[in-house]
């Protein structure tokens, strides 16, 4: 069942009659579902005008570039204007120039010819072939000898909206799709003569000649004249070109060209006048010069049906018109004043066109644009058909009727309802009404259907409410955007396919921020996906208003955005910087709470020092380091060090790096700061880490000593000088005595000398370096005991009064298990340590005597704790007695 063209636009607003036809024929009009643009050749220069789908002018600009071959819209709603010389100019929805790129100038007399092949509704589903349609276009170049075709993805790459917020599904999926499709055939261009076949990487907007794939097109086909018609078809993610030359059809891909014949094609065809590929790329229709239409699969393997319309005049347009998941397939053919819908039926439906019209195939129907109207031709959805068919007894129809009667307070309502319930079809009835409401364009009709659904729902126990609620919400949104002020007359199926995110994107593109925000709030979308995103877009638009002062813009943005989660001030600032408003960008950055986010932009704007302090604030050392390297390259060494000096955190970070990687820089750093202390330390380290030769080491130490003097660190300077002396001396000792002395400490040097019997030298060294007596005694004691030179030790002990007492002598002898020697010294131990010494040598009895004599409680218990076994029994008793006595007193 087919519904006549549905008038969608209530206020025709195109310019006066006559002009449009001209524009259509002079191939300067691109029509899209919602906006309407054209270029009219006013006086000398053409004017490019852009209208919304409801005819509201959006932009108008004087065309100053070369002759335009074709216009088309990309998935992100950018207008692509293809010039004869292959240059493609890209404009925004509001006529703002975005960028340009070239498909390469093929030369020759004709330049690039004919129009863009398609460019319609963008559908954000990378998995279905639908989405590819948006970006597939082709050109051919007319001329007697040069034929050229370009096939490429003309969807724009850069997200048109602000990059601030997570990208919408469209751009995401467009990206995916590109990745999936483009590796093998991103696009192709070939000319008959030069036979260049080039993959066309649109992302880099370049044409690359691919030598290995060169082949001669003209010889393969023997093409003498331009093809009568051609189209792109798509199979298994590979794009092909279907080309009709006379009675023959050729299928071209990037490597081969093969002649094809559609199965079941009626004989007698001498030329193909039109061909059309369905929206889904599944079907193909061919219009022959005999007025015969062949419809089949795009793979040319199967015929679906055929129709003979007996009109031999070439149609102006032929497009497919079908609804997803519908079995009906139909093709709409348009002539000057006639529209014909043909399908798998002997009869066709015909309409009369009052004006010049242009057809745009869409997902679920065909849009028909004319000078004064914008209509939509589609197959009536099943649900609507069931309900509104004359004398329909479908449950939905009965329910609608019941509700109407109920409002009239008629008991018939009950009868109808009972009838549905008896059949147990009430849930289907409700569902039908809800579904049909979705396909209605008139709010009144939507309401009455929804009312019926709501009425039916009351009699159902457990009917899940979400489908009803969702439909109400969807219709609200749809009705809002269908308003002619907005001019986005989407059908329900298109809306569902598009998703709300893409719809919001489109609203943002049209700068309809308040409506977009209202929709977000109404649908309760999460802030990050909804409101904040739109606010961010708004802010990005706001910064482009050059007539408003930086102050005002920054304040206005901050007032609106506040601390909304998910809004990145740094992205907005980046946009401002992109517009050349550095000051504004800096002001905006101040609102950015995450200092880390501010850094990259600040660096880009050459505010490196500010970037450094922000990086430090962020606490991210990697970020600090990045800025440091940036600064290092940007500034001269002196300035760089000065900057570091004021930033201790950065300085220590850089020092750490230098310590491991750039020692020389570290030295320079200390030099710059007059940090003599660290400089001294640096050279000390160098004296044993970097230098090998003794001279080098001494020299390093000398430098260190000088630095220490400058740092007023006399101690370190002296110590360093001592070390220099010691090093030289050790060297001499090695030369004279052999053995290893270098790098020993002073103490160890002397010990080594004693151990090797060089007592004289040892004494000399001790004097030279003023080794304190105590140390010397400890040292000698240990060394002689190690040698077990007891004679020498005794001599030494008697040389003068020991500064460390004689207990250590006892201890060390006992350590070497020489009790005999130990006892010698025990007698010389001073009274305080006598007990300890006696205990060490194991003379418990005498220790007890001494302890008792001293009347020292602690000593007595110490002795007591050493009394073990029977031998010491007497001693223990003695102490106990002495203790008791002491306590008595």
């Amino acid at each position: 069942m087919w519904c006549g063209p549905l008038e969608l636009v209530h206020r025709p607003a195109w310019p006066g009659p006559g002009q449009l036809g001209q524009k259509v024929s002079s191939q300067t009009t691109a029509l899209l579902r919602n906006p309407w643009r054209k270029e009219k050749p006013a006086s000398a220069r053409p004017v490019l005008e852009i209208y919304s789908a409801s005819g509201v002018p959006l932009a108008s600009l004087l065309w100053k570039s070369g002759p335009v071959v074709s216009l088309g819209w990309s998935a992100e709603e950018e207008l692509l204007c293809v010039q004869e010389d292959g240059v493609v100019l890209v404009y925004g929805l509001h006529g703002d120039f975005r960028r340009h790129f070239s498909m390469g100038n093929v030369g020759g007399p004709g330049g690039w010819g004919k129009g863009m092949e398609s460019g319609t509704l963008s559908l954000p589903q990378p998995t279905t072939p639908l989405s590819r349609r948006c970006s597939r276009t082709g050109f051919w170049m007319p001329g007697s000898s040069i034929l050229s075709l370009v096939l490429g993805w003309l969807s724009s790459q850069e997200p048109t909206a602000s990059p601030s917020v997570p990208t919408w599904v469209t751009s995401n999926s467009a990206g995916c799709q590109r990745c999936q499709v483009s590796p093998d055939t991103p696009g192709a261009a070939f000319t008959a003569h030069r036979c260049a076949f080039c993959p066309w990487d649109h992302q880099r907007q370049k044409l690359w000649a691919l030598g290995s794939l060169r082949w001669s097109f003209s010889t393969t086909i023997g093409l003498q004249s331009a093809p009568s018609c051609w189209t792109t078809v798509c199979q298994d993610r590979v794009a092909h070109i279907l080309l009709a030359v006379g009675p023959d059809l050729y299928l071209l891909d990037h490597a081969a060209c093969s002649a094809v014949t559609p199965p079941g094609l009626a004989p007698g065809v001498s030329s193909f006048l039109q061909m059309a590929v369905s929206f889904t790329y599944r079907h193909l229709a061919l219009f022959t010069d005999t007025g015969y239409i062949w419809m089949g699969t795009a793979s040319l393997k199967e015929k679906l049906c055929e129709f003979n319309c007996n009109i031999r005049a070439p149609p102006k347009q032929m497009v497919w018109c079908s609804r997803p998941r519908s079995k009906e397939r139909a093709v709409v053919v348009a002539w000057e004043r006639r529209l014909m819908v043909v399908g798998d039926a002997p009869e066709s439906i015909q309409f009369v066109l009052d004006e010049d019209s242009y057809l745009v195939p869409e997902l679920d129907g065909v849009r028909i644009f004319s000078r004064s109207t914008h209509e939509f031709l589609h197959e009536v959805p099943v649900a609507s058909e069931e309900i509104f068919k004359i004398a329909s007894m479908a449950p939905g129809a009965l329910l609608l009727e019941a509700q109407k009667e109920y409002e009239k307070e008629s008991q018939k309502a009950d009868e109808y309802l009972r009838e549905i319930q008896e059949l147990g079809q009430l849930p289907q009835a409700v569902q039908q009404c809800i579904e049909a409401a979705g396909h209605e364009h008139w709010p009144d009709m939507q309401k009455s259907l929804l009312r019926a659904a709501s009425f039916g729902k009351c009699f159902l126990d457990r009917f899940p409410p979400d489908s009803f609620v969702r439909m109400c919400q969807d219709l609200r949104v749809l009705n809002a955007v269908r308003d002619y002020h907005i001019g986005i007359p989407l059908t329900y199926s298109q809306y569902k396919q598009l998703t709300i995110q893409v719809l919001l994107d489109r609203l943002v593109l049209r700068r309809l921020y308040p409506l977009a925000i209202q929709i977000c709030e109404y649908l309760r979308l999460p802030e990050v996906q909804g409101v904040s995103r739109i606010l961010a877009h708004w802010a990005c638009y706001k910064v482009q208003q050059k007539d408003v002062s930086d102050e005002d813009v920054a304040r206005a943005i901050n007032q609106k955005l506040g601390d909304t989660p998910g809004v990145s001030y740094s992205d907005i600032a980046a946009r401002a910087y992109g517009c050349g408003r550095t000051e504004l960008a800096i002001k905006l950055l101040e609102y950015e709470p995450r200092s880390g986010e501010q850094v990259p932009l600040l660096l880009k704007m050459k505010r490196s020092k500010l970037a450094l302090s922000k990086a430090i604030e962020s606490g991210d050392t990697d970020l600090v380091f990045t800025v440091l390297l940036h600064l290092k390259n940007e500034l001269n060494r002196g300035d760089f060090f000065m900057t570091l000096r004021n930033q201790p955190m950065a300085l220590s970070l850089y020092r750490q790096f230098c310590k491991h990687q750039e020692l020389e820089t570290l030295k320079d750093l200390y030099n710059q700061d007059d940090n003599h202390q660290e400089l001294g330390s640096f050279h000390i380290r160098a004296s044993y880490a970097a230098e090998e030769r003794i001279e080098g080491r001494v020299a390093a130490l000398q430098t260190a000593a000088d630095a220490f003097y400058k740092a007023k660190n006399e101690f370190a300077a002296k110590a360093t000088e001592d070390q220099m002396r010691l090093l030289r001396l050790q060297r001499r000792l090695e030369d004279e005595l052999g053995g290893r002395f270098l790098d020993l400490s002073l103490h160890d040097t002397v010990t080594t000398l004693i151990l090797s019997g060089q007592n004289k030298r040892a004494e000399q060294l001790a004097r030279d370096f003023r080794i304190p007596d105590k140390r010397l005694w400890w040292l000698k004691l240990t060394a002689l005991a190690d040698l077990e030179d007891w004679e020498e030790l005794e001599k030494f002990s008697k040389s003068k009064k020991s500064p460390i007492g004689y207990l250590p002598f006892v201890e060390i002898c006992m350590k070497q298990h020489n009790k005999y020697e130990a006892k010698k010294y025990a007698s010389r131990v001073g009274p305080e340590q006598k007990v300890k010494a006696l205990l060490l040598v194991g003379d418990v009895a005498q220790a007890a005597d001494v302890a008792i004599e001293h009347r020292n409680e602690a000593e007595m218990s110490l002795v007591l704790s050493h009394c073990t076994g029977a031998t010491d029994g007497a001693t223990a008793d003695k102490i106990q007695r002495a203790r008791a006595q002491a306590q008595k007193k």
């Binding site: 995450r594 606490g619 991210d620 990697d622 370190a716 002073l746 103490h747 400890w778």
Partner: protein, 624 residues
């Protein structure tokens, strides 16, 4: 022994999840390099890795051979090399040299570098400078928290201490903030936060920022851990410098516990092999003695050994219960209980061996004298005597690290050494242990560990003059500035304020401790633990202003309480203590004791477990 927790003490959260997370991530990273590969592991990462994934797990994921990252050319013949390293420049140069050597030899292999716990830009820079950045792929293994025990999480980053407190390098702070963020996502938000120290404050702020950026995740979750306390190591160096006398600390000081396990040498195992033993709560014997003062441990162990022997004997040789046993019961006894007893017996003999070994070592070195000197330093009497003890210590070349530790302890407790001692001790030290320690002294001075008393009290004089001229607030800032100039410790005053030296009436009973001082034989309450105790008690820093000022942390102590009644009283008694720069086992024992007393449970998060020797080694300059 091993006093039970109060019945109302909260349960500890299950931290094994952290291990699972780390393991899964590592496996994922290994799978990113399909096919056989050789794995090069940095030495420092070996033990932590071993706790996460053993060799068989690695083999399962096609790791062929394992190598240690060391400065030697690699012998690997594999086509794919994977490096598991800490983000250190030294490692980058090693990898670069390896790749370049392959290039020279015309060999192409796949290289993958996995940084743990994160990669640093500087590392990538070095790879780029060496011209190999394009040849290697870099990844991060965000493994920052290793549960060493049921209540102890370690980041295993010993270099944190030197990097931050000496070099002023802040890059690990981010890692710490990430780790805290991970904990709060896994175990719910922390309603109450306290902290002291510059590093603590920075980490806290960074962590909060992370939470804000990713909010929503933790919101609405019930907090499991009610309080968190962040503490910088430099707030309390004293405790970390003391000799440890609780068993676990003593084992660490003597044998070095590494990543939760210790290598007991032949002298402990009384066999000819050394044995690697995991020390944690699962070791039932260890769990009972770990927090005990060493003087109790030996007697406890022998009692326990006797008891278990009795049990065995009683059962086996016709004790009253033995008679009724049938074959089945007997079988069960042999397979189950006997096994358990055997296991216990093995552990007992091991710990007894360890004790003997410790005693032998300690008595040899005049441990008593040493402890006495330490206590004198802490209490502040007989300073001259202590100074000459230290001098003798140096003269006799007892141990460079020990000598240094005593010098630092003297300096901190005395607000710096008097100039004469400062010079003479340093001279003696250089003569004993070598001139390169001049750099060590410069490090210690920078870290505030070993300083010279300012002649007179000039600083305070200037301070008071200045503060008369300007407003109070500005004066406070100037004071801070001065104090950071010469980071003076005011240990004595703090000790008095916080009552760190308990008054001793008679003998301190180490068997039944009455306060945290027992971890230092009743002579000193660890400052860090006392601060934590006080703040938790007061629920903030009120009334501690003077202490905070004396700690030179006037602006660095913070409290953040969420007015949220979602935190149950139970969760409020579960407290996460974060030690930035490391904590000692003594501190852990002290807080465990406090927890038992007050019904708290403490969880410890530390950058690494440390002790006095590790601190000193971190500050020492040694010849390469």
């Amino acid at each position: 022994m091993a006093f039970p927790h109060r019945p109302d003490a909260p349960e500890l959260p299950d931290f094994s999840m952290l291990k699972r997370l780390a393991r899964d991530q590592l496996i994922y990273l290994l799978e990113q390099l399909p096919g056989k590969k050789d794995l090069f592991i940095e030495a420092d990462l070996m033990s932590p890795l071993d706790r996460i994934a053993n060799v068989s797990i690695l083999k399962q994921h096609e790791v062929d051979k394992l190598y240690k990252v060391e400065n030697k050319p690699a012998l690997s013949s594999s086509e794919q090399l994977c490096f598991l390293v800490r983000p250190r420049i030294k490692n980058m140069r090693y990898i670069a040299s390896l790749v370049n050597a392959d290039k020279m030899a015309g060999r192409t292999r796949k290289y993958k570098v996995i940084f743990s716990p994160q990669k640093f830009y500087a590392c990538e820079m070095v790879l780029e400078e060496e011209g190999v950045y394009g040849d290697v792929s870099c990844d991060e293994w965000a493994f920052s928290l290793l549960p060493l025990d049921v209540d102890l999480l370690s980041m295993e980053l010993p270099e944190f201490f030197r990097d931050y407190f000496l070099e002023g390098d802040q890059r690990w702070i981010n890692t710490l903030a990430q780790a805290l963020h991970l904990l709060s996502t896994l175990y719910g938000p922390f309603p109450n936060c306290y902290g002291i120290g510059r590093c603590a404050k920075m980490s806290y702020e960074l962590w909060k920022r992370l939470e804000e950026e990713e909010d929503g995740e933790t919101k609405g979750r019930r907090p499991e851990i009610g309080q968190i306390f962040l503490l910088d190591r430099d707030v309390d160096f004293v405790t970390a410098l003391c000799s440890q006398v609780v068993y676990e600390g003593l084992v660490d000081d003597t044998f070095r516990i590494k990543c939760g396990s210790v290598d007991f040498g032949p002298e402990v195992t009384s066999s000819d092999k050394s044995l690697k033993v995991l020390l944690n709560a699962e070791d039932k014997v260890f769990n009972e003695i770990r927090n005990e003062h060493f003087s109790n441990v030996f007697s406890f162990l022998s009692q326990k050994a006797a008891a278990s022997l009795m049990l065995l004997l009683g059962r086996d040789w016709g004790g009253p219960r033995r008679r009724g046993m049938d074959i089945k019961q007997m079988k069960n006894f042999v397979s189950q209980e006997l096994k358990g007893l055997k296991q216990e017996h093995r552990l007992l003999s091991l710990h007894i061996g360890a004790c003997e070994s410790i005693m032998k070592k300690k008595t040899k070195q005049d441990f008593q004298e040493l402890i006495k000197t330490e206590h004198a330093l802490l209490e502040g009497f007989n300073i001259r005597e202590s100074t000459s003890y230290i001098e003798e210590h140096i003269d006799r070349q007892v141990s460079p690290i020990e000598s240094l530790r005593l010098m630092c302890l003297l300096s901190i407790t005395e607000n710096g050494l008097i100039p004469k001692d400062y010079r003479s001790l340093k001279t003696q030290y250089l003569q004993s242990y070598g001139p390169e320690h001049l750099l060590t002294f410069s490090n210690l001075r920078r870290a505030g560990l070993l300083t010279e008393q300012a002649p007179g009290d000039t600083l305070t004089a200037v301070e008071s003059k200045v503060s008369k001229l300007v407003t109070d607030k500005a004066a406070g800032k100037i004071t801070d500035a001065f104090s950071s100039l010469a980071k003076r410790s005011n240990f004595r005053a703090i000790s008095k304020k916080l009552n760190l030296i308990p008054r001793v009436d008679g003998e301190y009973d180490l068997k039944v401790p009455r306060d945290m001082a027992y971890v230092f034989s009743g002579a000193y309450v660890p400052l860090s633990c006392r601060i934590i105790e006080q703040v938790l008690e007061r629920r903030g820093w009120q009334g501690l202003d003077e202490v905070v000022r004396l700690l030179n942390c006037s602006e660095l102590a913070f409290t953040d309480m969420t007015k949220d009644d979602k935190a149950s009283s139970e969760s409020l008694r579960l407290i996460l203590v974060v030690f930035l720069g490391g904590c000692t086992f003594s501190e852990i024992s002290a807080l465990r004791f406090l927890g038992r007393e007050k019904g708290y449970r403490f969880i410890f998060l530390t950058t690494a477990v440390t002790n006095s020797a590790r601190l000193m080694e971190a500050m020492s300059e040694v010849k390469a």
